[in-house]
Symmetry: C2
Subunit: 231 residues, 2 copies
């Protein structure tokens, strides 16, 4: 079975208060994106990588690949107006029956273990969406102002990536018309009429959106390096 | 208006894989609990502090207070079987009309700014429960196995502490009978028949439950010390 990781890095990084998109910020002297690419390539020897970048950052992306990686396994394509359109562009580079991982470039602490579990699960079930249980109490805000209610927190899960699918599900799903409510790949597949299958994600698989997340990632990376999980 | 902070530290710290409860673990050479107490005492000169500790750790709690704080402003009482019972014990030491902050001892990065906002809001509205919006997509697990659906993440909030109330609300609410579903003070007040009022919490106001949280807290503390927010 072919394996494709579509690494989505469309964000402009405004929340970081920095001109450089988050995926290019440095973590232990290397770009965030370096760690994400490295883990996916290490997960499977036959993993193909499709990097979706804002057009103006394609050159910077190519420089990172040239510096660190075997570029035969990596293709770059341009991001679209929304995440949906970016993934659509990435999917055009996928060939044959495949398991496709769609991953946020800024989740650079993803582990090969999680990638393997997503693969096995998607192979069997058609999809694998990693989630974690909320640690805090959870409340639902109702329509009326100031009205809110507690929700059983064991019923609420927070969604991560890689959202992983068989190509025969993801490719036709992404041929439907775009809707505002498509916030991730799971919502697209559901709109196409299929159920998605959840698996357990990882607490450390955080999304780098604020400056402090970069420092937290640095700390988590130090630990995983010390433990030899990441070499 | 009197001010009481009930610092709840009943947990046995099993998830940390350590024999010592989380609130006594060291963060920059001082116990987690030290930072929590310090911030509440600094927030208001007339803040009274009620520390609810497992009975076997009362001595250790007293040592921390003796070493670092003005013990005239701090009382210690024993924890109960559940959080509800621990807070009930703490409430017995509250006198007169007061604004009462109930706070997780292991949320040691709470800021004086958040404490002030909770106070002002509870003074006006009767309650103030700090919450943050979920950063990830959120899904609701339904009763049926493998059935789940996306929830609008702008409608889901994660609940923090200090959960802050006027004593005329919190004290009678805690006279009702205990129910399993009382996971925090907000759920007790609602069971008593009142609505609670939410305010914006803080991303850094994390709960230390896993070993890695301690390292993250260390990093966040370094930043806030560098910025002079905490002296």
């Amino acid at each position: 079975m072919n394996k494709y990781a579509i690494i989505v890095a469309g964000g402009s990084g405004n929340r970081m208060g920095s001109a450089v998109p988050k995926q290019f910020l440095l973590l232990h002297h290397k770009p965030v994106l370096y760690y994400t690419i490295k883990t996916f390539l290490e997960a499977y020897e036959d993993m193909n990588l499709v990097l979706v970048l804002p057009e103006e950052y394609a050159d910077l992306g190519r420089e990172i690949i040239d510096a660190y990686f075997d570029y035969n396994r990596i293709q770059i394509t341009a991001g679209g107006e929304t995440r949906f359109h970016s993934v659509q562009n990435g999917l055009r580079l996928v060939h044959g029956d495949a398991i496709i991982f769609v991953h946020d470039a800024v989740r650079c602490l993803v582990s090969t273990g999680l990638i393997h579990r997503c693969y096995e699960h998607a192979l069997q079930m058609g999809s694998a969406v990693p989630v974690t249980i909320a640690k805090d109490s959870v409340r639902l805000l109702n329509e009326e102002l100031n009205d809110n209610e507690v929700v059983d927190r064991n019923k609420i899960v927070l969604v991560q990536t890689p959202q992983t699918f068989h190509s025969r599900i993801l490719q036709p799903a992404f041929e439907i018309d775009f809707k505002e409510r498509f916030t991730d790949e799971a919502t697209v597949v559901e709109a196409y009429g299929l159920k998605i299958s959840l698996i357990e994600g990882e607490e450390n698989n955080i999304k780098i959106t604020r400056p402090v997340d970069l420092l937290i990632a640095e700390k988590l990376l130090e630990i995983s390096m010390r433990e030899g999980v990441t070499s």
